[in-house]
């Protein structure tokens, strides 16, 4: 691993809609991310318990937002609150890249402790996630699931719109919980499904949800640990060099699996570009020069190699706004040349399930691939010239060259699972 020097100059965090002076506003339990309390909230708090907001996160109505300790808010996340529609997020939760929490259309949003809002997910209107609970369904009890803590997971592009999501539940990729619906404890919405009634939310026989299992709980526990450590590591990085958490710059390192701070490289040249509008973090090897990459890419793009091994990204044909790259530690992420990335596309690395006699394939996107707006590629190999339609997800799949996945289609482990219903 290359060790990088901390370098750069930078803008400040985006905090709008408040004239609150730079005061440390913290009641000991919740911290308001006002101008003086970003990117570390509270500014003078211990790194072990601090909440970190990436400087590109947008916070509106900061005085009406309360963040618990050890919360990580990723690049280009958006939190919109008003006096009549406050937002609270509990300790140990996280709002990852391009997450939207927008209470303005309702009476407020409550997000509980240990809630994971994964890349591109959203919580809108009057909503509650991870606050309310009820006894687990008998099938989950009978299966012996040990929920350990009480967690909730909203996956890539999932949406909770004016709804209640109870603790020990989840919403899969590109799925939605519609206004007025309560998703009970012990159930997960299946990928792409739109749950519009309480009956659908609590009965797997209706085809929209499945039961929580032990793997879900263990996954959540791991993700929570990782993001709590990110809050701490980015806080320490910021305090060491405030400019290092801006633009194209180093990852925080600091863990036993990723101890070093690495700079991204453009056309083979390692460089920090702290004034860059997008976030390119850590060991990312881009084929383009910085100038070409900046020219070909849109806004609010997060390429975050703060845990994973190098990302190798070929020459970009076109990259829309709100694109996210992230990857599992110890997995490669290779993207070919002349790929077209639609707005909001998510490319996420991670090893595929290994079957005896078959190679351990990592996430690879071939040359001349087209990724539609809001599409998701996760733990998959995408052949050259393939097209993934708008709001489609390809997960755990080897997609042959030239394949066309229609819009609004969910592909899991090589099988068409269903459509995106909303």
């Amino acid at each position: 691993m290359r060790r990088a020097l901390l370098t750069g100059s930078a803008a400040t965090a985006v905090v709008v809609g408040t004239l609150t002076p730079a005061l440390a506003e913290s009641d000991g339990r919740r911290c308001s991310p006002t101008r003086g309390n970003v990117p570390v909230c509270s500014t003078d708090g211990s790194a072990a318990t601090a909440t970190f907001l990436d400087p590109t996160a947008t916070v509106s109505g900061a005085r009406h937002i309360g963040l618990g300790a050890r919360t990580y808010v990723g690049p280009f996340a958006e939190l919109f609150a008003t006096r009549h529609a406050p937002i609270t997020i509990g300790p140990g939760s996280n709002a990852q890249d391009n997450v939207t929490v927008d209470a303005r259309g309702g009476e407020g949003i409550e997000v509980g402790d240990e809630v994971i809002l994964a890349h591109g997910s959203s919580v809108l209107g009057t909503a509650s996630v991870g606050i309310e609970s009820r006894p687990l369904p008998q099938a989950v009890v009978d299966a012996g699931v040990d929920t350990k803590g009480d967690s909730v997971f909203l996956s890539f592009g999932a949406q909770v719109d004016g709804a209640t999501v109870e603790v020990n539940s989840g919403v899969s990729a590109l799925a939605r919980v519609a206004p007025g619906v309560t998703l009970p404890s012990g159930f997960l919405v299946l990928p792409g499904k739109n749950v519009t009634t309480d009956a659908e939310a609590g009965d797997p026989a209706l085809g929209k949800v499945r039961y929580l299992n032990q793997g879900d709980v263990d996954f959540n526990e791991g993700v929570l640990h990782v993001n709590e450590s990110l809050a701490r590591e980015y806080t320490e990085l910021y305090r060491e060099d405030p400019e290092a958490v801006h633009g194209a710059n180093v990852d925080p390192g600091g863990s036993d699996v990723n101890p070093d701070r690495d700079l991204p490289s453009f056309a083979g040249q390692e460089q920090a570009e702290p004034d860059f509008r997008n976030r390119v973090i850590g060991d990312v090897d881009l084929a383009d020069t910085y100038a070409r990459f900046a020219e070909r890419t849109g806004e609010r793009i997060a390429i975050r190699a703060d845990e994973g091994e190098p990302f190798v990204i070929g020459s970009v044909d076109e990259m829309g706004d709100d694109v996210v790259f992230h990857a599992l530690e110890h997995t490669d992420l290779h993207v070919g040349d002349d790929v077209r990335y639609g707005a909001g596309a998510i490319v996420h690395g991670g090893g595929r399930v290994v079957v005896e006699g078959q190679p351990d394939e990592q996430t690879v996107v071939g040359d001349d691939v087209t990724l539609g707006d809001e599409s998701v590629v996760f733990r998959s190999t995408i052949g050259n010239d393939a097209t993934i339609g708008e709001r489609s997800a390809v997960v755990g799949t080897e997609l042959p060259a030239g394949t066309v996945v229609p819009p609004d289609t969910i592909v899991l482990n090589g099988q068409v699972f269903g459509s995106v219903e909303w």
């Binding site: 989950v140 699931v145 640990h225 990782v226 991670g350 399930v353 997960v395 755990g396």
Partner: protein, 164 residues
């Protein structure tokens, strides 16, 4: 490679397997105690890494209860010369990164329930495909701990649901 299939043990056993991964039998106090028993962060790393010996996924159907479950078991073994390992530790990797938490295993195997549902035909349940796909977001590495406190390197990463 000989699969080390474990007998079908529904609720109580699955609770035990969860305990195996968390390194505790139930409450937080025990977890704290066993976490403290994990090899220290600075433990000396020496010797070869353990290797995956077997990994299986098994569907169990309880026709009387009208339920089914899918369990993944992955067992590791030390390379020659490392047979006297005192205990095994595991760490979790997720699609978001590697958890800093290291936990103790009861033995050299990871056993995890990755899906369950109502009915007697799991292959017809769309929830099973989704659950198995979700399980693969989760991966593990194990290592051995010797009596002198030194540890082996971490094993290769094995995604939940892998078979081999």
């Amino acid at each position: 490679m000989t699969p080390l299939l474990r007998p079908v043990r529904p609720a109580a056993a699955l609770l035990a397997l969860a305990a195996g991964l968390t390194g505790c039998s139930s409450g937080g106090e025990a977890e704290t105690a066993l976490d403290a028993a994990a090899a220290p962060f600075s433990a000396t790393v020496a010797g070869p890494a353990p290797v995956l010996a077997s990994a299986t996924t098994t569907d169990d159907v309880d026709t009387a209860a009208g339920t089914w479950s899918t369990t993944w078991v992955a067992c590791f073994e030390p390379l020659p010369g490392e047979e006297d390992l005192e205990r095994w530790e595991v760490r979790t990797l997720t699609s978001e990164g590697t958890s800093p938490q290291i936990e103790q295993l009861d033995d050299e195997c990871i056993e995890l329930q990755v899906a369950h549902g109502v009915g007697t035909t799991p292959e017809d349940d769309p929830g099973r495909l989704a659950a198995l796909s979700d399980a693969a977001r989760l991966a593990y590495q194990v290592r051995g701990v010797r009596a002198d406190g030194s540890v082996t390197p971490w094993s290769e990463t094995v995604a939940a649901g892998s078979v081999g």
